[in-house]
């Protein structure tokens, strides 16, 4: 080893020891008689002292060192005069006796500090320098700890980690696949897995009972902010279980993670049926760090002559506690917010419940004080509160009010990144209708089982069929999702039929799975967690990119290695491919 200790471990107990350290020059201070250097490695920072009086040559040499030079030093641990209580090594420094330059460094294009002056593009190009910064180091160590804690928990419960293949088959259901041309079978392609879904089900058919894997998955989608073409899943499946068992085991896992990684004891994780989530929050991933639940006002707000309300499917509001004093300008801003194309409401009705008990609203023309009192009562409002009300088609209006609720939560500081609210959303619909393509889609995926009591409705009321499907939501972010699966060939065939597959298509794409169901498939179900996002949420961050060592930008490019890139004509020829001009 080119060191006896790391830069993070020496303290007052090591005084007088002779040590060797290696690391990077973080910064250098020349004080005339002395030169001090902060030496950094993965584990911390240790101060080096060079004395002009006792060793001028060495001190001169130290003064030639630039930022990010890699050096090795030997010297004696001594107690510092000016102690730094903020770092573990702050009580000591090294009086350097020997100095070797292991490598030089050009001046980095941005500062290697907690807060850097480098822009996003530059930092992605020099990712190896950005990764030197403390916040990213902490993120990647956190990621390591989370994966460690996940494995410990699941290993303890007898799960077997099994690797599933990356070179599989393209299936049109779901998102777009990345494909891999086969050289040995020209004209044929592998696909990279969007998830190991079918393989983990086959492992259940194979009797593996409890499977998990922390695994890369791939989706060739147009990238929205903070989506990555390759991402990591914690992928799990169990046999001979019910939904309740899955929620127990993986609720337990999440609690274990919070405890071991964050030192937080979570309460029992509550369950919220999808229909309730939509009714109360207008979202299947509600942020429950704050209340402000929806209150439906149809019965008190309709039939009073306000045409906008009278004909609509839903009138629904939230109570912004203590906001009755909002100014005209603030209210206009909220109206503008809901009218933005991303939200899409036509307008916003407000009712101020003044401190003096009177009401002031944007619909005073149509509603009496008594009418508004009724609203206030339904919404459990008190003087000082502000009621915000939207109206329109049910699903759309709920979505709009969800946006407004989150906005108000943010404005009122109710979304504390250091507070964690976890819940299960359950009983998802099995199918959703798509207006554009005029067909039913699986809300989770085609392998999700309908609730046994709803199977009959697959023929008659498809939209009402509920699934044994569940999502884990933390602070309004969907972290995981899963379901009890179909394990019966006939039901699986029925499902493909409902989704508009012909018998031939279903057989070509998923014949292997349906075939497997004929050889003793056990009841099974599972879940997958978005590992990148789980890490981000645990760190109270919005950005998954900061938790991935080498992420791609929004155009799917690796800025550092400059990929994707052209390949040689020889490679194309070998693959039997031509580029379209």
């Amino acid at each position: 080893m080119l060191r006896t200790h790391t830069c993070g471990e020496l303290n007052i107990n090591h005084v007088n020891q002779h040590v060797t350290l290696s690391g990077w020059v973080q910064k250098s201070r020349d004080l005339g008689g002395m030169t001090f250097i902060d030496l950094r490695d993965f584990y911390g920072i240790t101060q080096l002292a060079f004395n002009m009086e006792t060793n001028d040559q060495l001190c001169e040499k130290a003064r030639t060192l630039g930022r990010e030079y890699v050096i090795q030093i030997s010297g004696k641990v001594i107690e510092r005069e000016n102690k730094n209580p903020n770092i573990p090594t702050g009580e000591i420094e090294i009086l350097v006796e020997e100095l070797t330059i292991l490598n030089t460094s050009k001046t980095p294009p941005f500062t290697i500090e907690d807060e850097t002056d480098g822009g996003e593009e530059l930092r992605m190009k020099y990712r190896y320098l950005d990764l030197r910064r403390n916040p990213l180091k902490k993120n990647l160590r956190l990621r390591h700890q989370v994966s460690h804690a996940v494995r410990s928990y699941l290993d303890e419960l007898g799960f077997t980690e099994v690797e599933t293949p990356y070179l599989i088959k393209s299936t049109p259901e779901g998102a777009r696949d990345f494909v891999v041309p086969s050289r040995m079978h020209p004209g044929e392609f592998y696909a990279l897995p969007q998830s190991p879904q079918t393989f983990k089900q086959l492992l259940m058919v194979a009797g593996y009972d409890r499977y998990y894997q922390i695994v890369k998955c791939f989706r060739d989608e147009d990238l929205r902010a903070d989506r990555q073409p390759e991402f990591t899943q914690i992928d799990c499946e169990m046999s001979f279980i019910t939904q309740e068992d899955i929620l127990d085991v993986f609720g337990g896992m999440v609690k274990h993670l919070f405890k071991t990684v964050k030192g937080i004891e979570l309460d029992e994780i509550p369950l919220l049926p999808y229909s309730e989530a939509m009714r109360l929050y207008g979202s299947d991933k509600p942020d429950t760090r704050f209340d402000m639940t929806f209150v439906e006002l149809n019965d008190v707000a309709q039939g009073k002559g306000f045409k906008v309300f009278d004909s609509v499917e839903l009138i629904v509001g939230i109570n912004a506690k203590g906001c009755a004093n909002y100014s005209r300008k603030q209210l206009d801003a909220l109206t503008d917010f809901v009218k933005r194309p991303q939200v899409g409401a036509n307008g916003l009705v407000y009712v101020k419940y003044n401190e003096d008990g009177t009401f002031k609203s944007s619909v005073d023309k149509f509603f009496t004080q008594e009418d508004l009192q009724q609203w206030a009562d339904k919404m459990q409002a008190q003087p000082g509160d502000l009621l915000l009300v939207l109206a329109g088609e049910k699903d759309k209006t709920r979505k709009q009010l969800n946006e407004l609720r989150l906005e108000m939560g943010t404005r009122l500081g109710l979304r504390n990144p250091n507070e964690y609210k976890v819940l299960w959303v359950t009983d998802f619909p099995l199918l959703e209708w798509d207006e554009d393509t005029n067909r039913w889609y699986a809300m989770h995926h085609p392998f999700t089982a309908p609730k046994p009591e709803d199977i009959e409705k697959l023929n008659t009321h498809k939209g009402e069929v509920r699934a044994n499907a569940y999502d884990l939501v933390i602070n309004g972010v969907e972290i995981g999702g899963g379901s009890i699966r179909i394990h019966d060939r006939t039901l699986q065939e029925k499902m493909f039929e409902v989704l508009g597959f012909s018998k031939e298509e279903a057989e070509k794409q998923f014949g292997f799975l349906m075939g497997a169901f004929e050889y003793g498939a056990p009841p099974h179900g599972g879940i997958a967690f978005g590992f990148d996002r789980l890490c981000a949420v645990l760190a109270g961050s919005d950005s998954i990119r900061d938790f991935i060592a080498f992420p791609k930008n929004n155009a799917g490019r690796d800025m550092m290695i400059d990929a994707p890139d052209t390949i040689s004509q020889e490679q194309l020829d070998e693959l039997g491919l031509m580029l379209k001009k």
Copy 2:
């Protein structure tokens, strides 16, 4: 849970408990008054008893169950009359009171037993059934245990697991890449990594100090037996270390694996320089479970008038102890063996050291008994031994004799699969000359550092430059390999120049890495282990395929899901690709 216990855990202490089990019907025995069923799950087998007298309906139902049916039963644990000492549950059985059929099964196309009647092709097509067999279950559990033990060991030493990207850039050096067409950047391609080599080096530049990852890698090569297009590596890298540190840490890891997984305490792992390995075994991955090392005979066998010997570069033999009694037929078989095209020798010289102290050889015409006594002395032969000698060009002859040595080891039963001999082969040449392409190739890869004392020879005696490179060899199989890396831009540029890269090519392909070396790259090195093969060797098996859940066949096909496969015209269009007719 659809069970209170697994099929592997009930024993005499559970007698009289009422339990529920779920699993597969392994086999059924109808004895008239009683029916017995072996119920199997991932954890074991439990015998179920159905009594015709006390519950004829249930017993009749049990008699309808076919092999591999999935059932759930409830009943009472009772002590067996005929105990089976071979299984943990052998002292008890369940007197069944309730029986539910969870799923039926067609008759499997082969038997689900330790020894099956299914051929390889059939078992790959129905992999989910093959995986039900005990030997495969044991293999995949072993794999899980090995990965667990690897992680524990490295976590303990402060290594950070970091995931590196799968969508990277194609580079022509090394094996052929699998490529992934980019839809967002038509005409451009990602490549799947052959290893995370450059990324782990960048992590060292980024200061991550100790990295590991258990990671899939990809090579589009023509598949030899037991090669897979996707395979798993234990990939590791460390900073501020010397070769000795790497051998310590990862020798320690291998010892840890043997201890925790096999219960075997390995001795200190010996080091063997490459040149010695070639001299003594004719191989850089010698099987050291048996001796039979090479003895060079030039000084005693040349100049005696045997022309075949007199002009050759090397005469070299092995001593097959106790084989002097080999028959004409046996000796002819050995001659045939070395003359096979795969071995390629012109002939084989033998010398029998008879029990009576005389010699009988295939070259008696040219060598006296005294001459042959000299050979025998050099080879430490005793009466009863058989000397086998090859001659020719040095490197080729060594390779041929290596094959013969391994063959003799096998014939003499010296290659016990339950014995383990581990060693490090060190000091590999940096470069090897390729006759076909008339250029130098990196023996490990272009990032391997030459030994500092040999750098000068890069200009003058390229073939003599040794690298700080090392392989871990177990029982004649290369399990891991690595090196100290170049961390200096100038030396890396020199290396690419020696390998015939133009400045522009080197910059285009590896500019990001050489650029990183200019910003304070620390001295670093690492190693990668073939995880599939490591598992196979630990289990004393030759076949990596039996340690991969869903392997591909020798044509790179997944027989079960039938991949690769054609993709739709729409997919091709989106990717801007056309197929060559």
